[in-house]
């Protein structure tokens, strides 16, 4: 059997989702026209979809059971999520409902949906950006690496014997390199990591070359290496943090959505008659 390409699989999946949404919409309109409460149909469809979506997390926590690959589950998760978003639009009179609870529930749903679509985008782009930079750093060891780089830079400056070079490099270290090595990256950098500060520091070190002797030039070169190491580390930190925060937001709010959805269903059922 020929393996299905990614594009073909995506097309097929989208067609299946579109057909499913069309069927649900047809039933929804039919129920509305025959004076039934179609919101019960769409509401329980959304709730069932959420339960299926939550099962991906269960599958990840039960790797020993033969329940299919996580990749397959992720694909199902993705398209069921698109389907659930479509049914939700049919279910609600307004995207943001009135009332504190229903308003909060609709915001949570939209948050989970948006985070899901962002996750789709992030899972397609961030791994490429992470592998594009040198080194692979575990997120929990980033602090250890940061400390190592800062201590190495301090040692380099202490080992310098040349007075003139030590004066020039010491001044540059104090004013520019030390704040860079010994502090965490700024919030702006974490949100939008760029190479601006890296290029600024490296060009500054290059500018010092004409004031330095051979020994201090070699030290300046090592400082440049540490700047690149630290910037790559911060870049990986920012992207890994983004991925991890997305998972936390998506999963925590998914649980809140499931709990709120069940409560909403019970209340709606009880207030129907």
């Amino acid at each position: 059997m020929m393996p299905i390409s990614f594009r073909t699989r995506r097309k097929l999946s989208l067609i299946v989702v579109a057909v499913a949404l069309s069927i649900v919409y047809g039933i929804f309109r039919l129920e509305e026209s025959r004076l039934a409460h179609a919101s019960f149909f769409t509401g329980f469809t959304v709730l069932a979809s959420i339960l299926i979506l939550i099962l991906l997390g269960v599958r990840r926590r039960l790797p020993v059971l033969p329940l299919g690959s996580v990749s397959t589950w992720t694909q199902v998760h993705l398209y069921v999520g698109v389907f659930a978003a479509g049914v939700y639009v049919m279910h609600v009179p307004a995207l943001i409902a009135g009332g504190v609870f229903e308003c909060g529930l609709s915001i949570v749903f939209l948050l989970v949906t948006c985070s899901g679509f962002y996750g789709l985008y992030a899972s397609r782009t961030l791994p490429k950006r992470l592998t594009a930079v040198e080194g692979q750093h575990r997120f929990d060891r980033v602090v250890w690496h940061r400390t190592q780089i800062a201590e190495t830079a301090r040692t380099l400056l202490d080992d310098l014997h040349e007075n003139s070079g030590m004066r020039v490099l010491g001044s540059f270290y104090t004013h520019y390199l030390r704040p860079f090595f010994e502090t965490r990256p700024s919030m702006a950098y974490v949100l939008m990591p760029t190479g601006v500060r890296r290029r600024r520091l490296l060009s500054g070190l290059k500018e010092l070359d004409r004031y330095l002797e051979d020994e201090s030039r070699s030290t300046a070169g090592r400082f440049a290496a540490l700047v690149r190491r630290r910037d790559d580390l911060d870049y990986q930190f920012a992207l890994q943090l983004r991925l991890r925060l997305w998972v936390v937001v998506h999963s925590v709010f998914s649980i809140a959505l499931l709990a709120g959805g069940i409560v909403h269903a019970v209340i709606a059922w009880r207030h129907a008659g």
């Binding site: 026209s33 039934a36 409902a97 929990d140 201590e151 070169g221 090592r222 925590v252 008659g273």
Partner: protein
């Protein structure tokens, strides 16, 4: 190694990705790492740090606790209404519930929102709706489809099928759609009225498919497949019988003002109101008075008679006792309708009255003893009736009317202005013996003689004038050529002067006519209260009742009924009998129509565009079927504009769901 390259030491490998804690040392880490809940086992302990996994677990726990706290808050009845709300209520309902406690707000409409097993187990949401809406809707029929019993709905369906003809029914794909999801005998309010859709959302918004889901014959667009009609809007009739056809084509063109025929302008009577709608009906003063007031006053002046003493034969008069000589001689006179009602309470008198042919003394066979006896009983009852009223006043009349089936309110309005002194004086004058009469009357009021009836002088008609001495105009029965005594008396006794009601009672009122021995009422014109009461009184009698027939034969009453045929309908209230209310567009009619938006269109501003007078039309003046002089407005008049892409063709544009059967 290049000058800008550097080697750094490898990171420690004493932790795993799933660990919650990791070594806090920044330099050389320990070999074992932290244990348990972040405790360092080294002799020189460090301060272990949480891993990302550890922090995530903690955040998840905090998130769960927040959710649980939120659920507890939601579950509290005191705050539930403010927190749990799938959408804003419509403004009218929100306004009503704004003063309700939060803890009771949901339960105001949702009986099951409170604890399980309470006392409202069998109460439905519709019951709660009806707690407020019972003023405008009958609770017993509120949950029936269209508020109509199944039998009525079935009749309407069959009538529709008969009208369309089974062969003309279009079969569309809509006929194959699933049937309605609700029981037509138990349609809950929320089947159609969906709340919590925002303050300005319409609670009555319905799609055409929703409207038709209960119908056995479903159709598509209004223009193409809506069933036709042939009676709109004129089959409904009105309570005023106004003939638009004759006025528009005959009376108005014949009325010449300033050398020009008067034009029949619809807008004079049906003027636009401040809200843009048309005045459906207008007042007598606006529409009719100019042309009809003079004739109506003459007809109203004929009034209605309470009682007229019949003329009886001499031996009958002798048997009765006191009886006016002027009403003695031969049998004549018909029993007045009102007198009939007052006399019939006496069983013997009623039997005697019924034995008289057509209650007419003129038809009595004076050779027949039984007829004479009946005449005597009825005549005596006339006298006793006058004496009773003279002694006991209006209460005696109200009591007798009540025994005849007339409601006291109508009887009271009928006799409100009738003074008992008038009756008492009539008794004294008509039934006093000659000696007493001589004592009580002056020379200007001689003893009673047969009334020489003469038409009152009007204008310059000498033939009818009082001054006429033409013997041919005298009453030929006035004198008996064989009665010499009477001839002598006539030469010495002055005739009583006839009470000229036209001259003396121009504003109308009760009076005594000594020549005809009658108690009469003279009407004033339009909207005369006594004449209205007399018609309502007649309306309370059964259609075959001779008193009713005689009352309605009265000219003044017949003139009223000519334009107010519904006035004799006993099922209507007094106001409904006389005032015409808009019949099209009443709150509980199945079809509604607003002129206002249509009149803004230049082509429709002329009423005749839609309302054309049908050729050869006849206005019926019966109580049940009225004016139908217009050609019906057909579907084609509406379908030109009422399409989905133009003025809209939604069912609810012209139809109401909540209807009532006609009273």
């Amino acid at each position: 190694m290049r000058r800008d390259e550097i080697n750094l030491s490898e990171p420690p490998n004493n932790d795993r990705p799933g660990d919650r804690w990791m070594c806090g040392r920044t330099g050389e880490p320990c070999v074992r790492g932290p244990i348990g809940r972040g405790q360092c086992s080294s002799s020189e302990p460090c301060r272990p740090r949480r891993t990302w996994h550890g922090r995530r677990k903690r955040w998840t726990l905090v998130g769960m606790l927040t959710i649980v706290a939120a659920m507890i808050v939601i579950a509290r009845p005191a705050t539930r209404a403010a927190i749990v709300k799938p959408g804003e209520l419509s403004t009218p309902h929100a306004q009503i519930l704004s003063s309700t406690l939060d803890s009771r707000r949901c339960a105001a409409c949702h009986p099951h929102s409170s604890a399980v097993g309470d006392s409202v187990a069998n109460v439905t949401q519709s019951d709660r709706c009806m707690d407020c809406h019972h003023e405008t809707m009958n609770r017993s029929t509120a949950t029936l489809a269209h508020n109509l019993p199944a039998r009525v709905r079935s009749d309407l369906r069959l009538a529709s099928l008969r009208l369309a003809g089974s062969s003309d029914r279009d079969t569309t794909w809509r006929d194959w759609m699933p049937s309605v999801a609700v029981d037509q005998e138990n349609v809950q309010c929320n089947a159609c009225h969906r709340e919590h859709r925002g303050a300005v959302a319409s609670l009555t918004a319905m799609t055409n498919d929703q409207c038709q889901t209960c119908h056995s014959d479903r159709f598509g667009s209004f223009a193409d497949s809506h069933p036709t009609w042939d009676q709109w809007p004129y089959g409904r009739g009105g309570v005023i019988a106004f003939d638009h056809a004759s006025h528009a084509t005959k009376h108005f063109p014949k009325t010449i003002l300033e050398g020009q025929p008067t034009s029949f302008e619809c807008g004079v009577c049906h003027a636009r109101q401040a809200n843009g709608e048309l005045t459906r009906t207008t007042s007598y003063e606006t529409a009719c008075q100019t042309c009809h007031d003079g004739a109506l006053r003459i007809e109203a002046a004929e009034g209605v008679e309470l009682l007229t003493l019949p003329s009886v034969a001499k031996r009958c008069a002798d048997a009765i006792g006191a009886w006016p000589e002027g009403a003695t001689g031969f049998y004549d006179g018909r029993i007045a309708g009102l007198a009939d009602l007052l006399i019939r309470v006496d069983a013997d008198a009623n039997a005697a009255m019924r034995s008289l042919p057509n209650q007419d003394f003129a038809k009595i066979d004076d050779q027949h003893d039984q007829s004479e006896q009946a005449a005597r009983i009825v005549a005596r009852e006339h006298r006793q009736l006058l004496e009773t009223i003279g002694n006991e006043g209006q209460s005696a009349m109200v009591e007798r009317f009540a025994k005849s089936g007339i409601s006291p309110s109508i009887a009271a309005r009928m006799i409100r202005s009738l003074p008992p002194q008038l009756i008492e004086e009539a008794c004294r004058r008509w039934f006093a013996d000659e000696d007493n009469l001589a004592e009580t009357t002056s020379t200007n009021a001689p003893k009673i003689r047969p009334a020489a009836f003469k038409m009152p002088a009007r204008g310059d008609d000498d033939l009818l004038g009082e001054s006429s001495d033409d013997d041919l105009l005298g009453d030929p029965l006035d004198s008996d050529p064989l009665d010499l005594d009477s001839q002598e008396t006539k030469s010495t006794v002055q005739q009583p002067s006839r009470f000229d009601a036209d001259a003396m009672l121009p504003a109308g009122g009760w009076f005594r006519d000594d020549r005809t021995f009658a108690i009469r009422y003279r009407g004033e014109g339009h909207d005369d209260p006594v004449l209205k009461a007399a018609i309502e009184l007649a309306g309370e009698l059964t259609p075959g009742d001779p008193a009713r027939t005689r009352l309605l034969e009265t000219k003044s009453l017949a003139a009223c009924i000519a334009c107010h045929p519904a006035a004799i309908a006993a099922t209507r209230t007094s106001d409904e009998r006389w005032r015409s209310y808009p019949l099209v567009g009443r709150p509980r009619e199945f079809t509604k129509f607003a002129h206002s938006p249509h009149l803004n269109i230049a082509g429709l501003s002329d009423c005749r565009h839609c309302h054309t007078i049908a050729a050869g039309s006849v206005v019926s003046v019966s109580a049940n079927q009225h004016g139908h002089e217009f050609a019906a407005v057909g579907i084609e008049a509406c379908a030109g504009c009422h399409q989905s892409s133009a003025a809209g063709d939604a069912c609810v544009k012209c139809h109401r769901y909540h209807v009532e059967t006609s009273p």
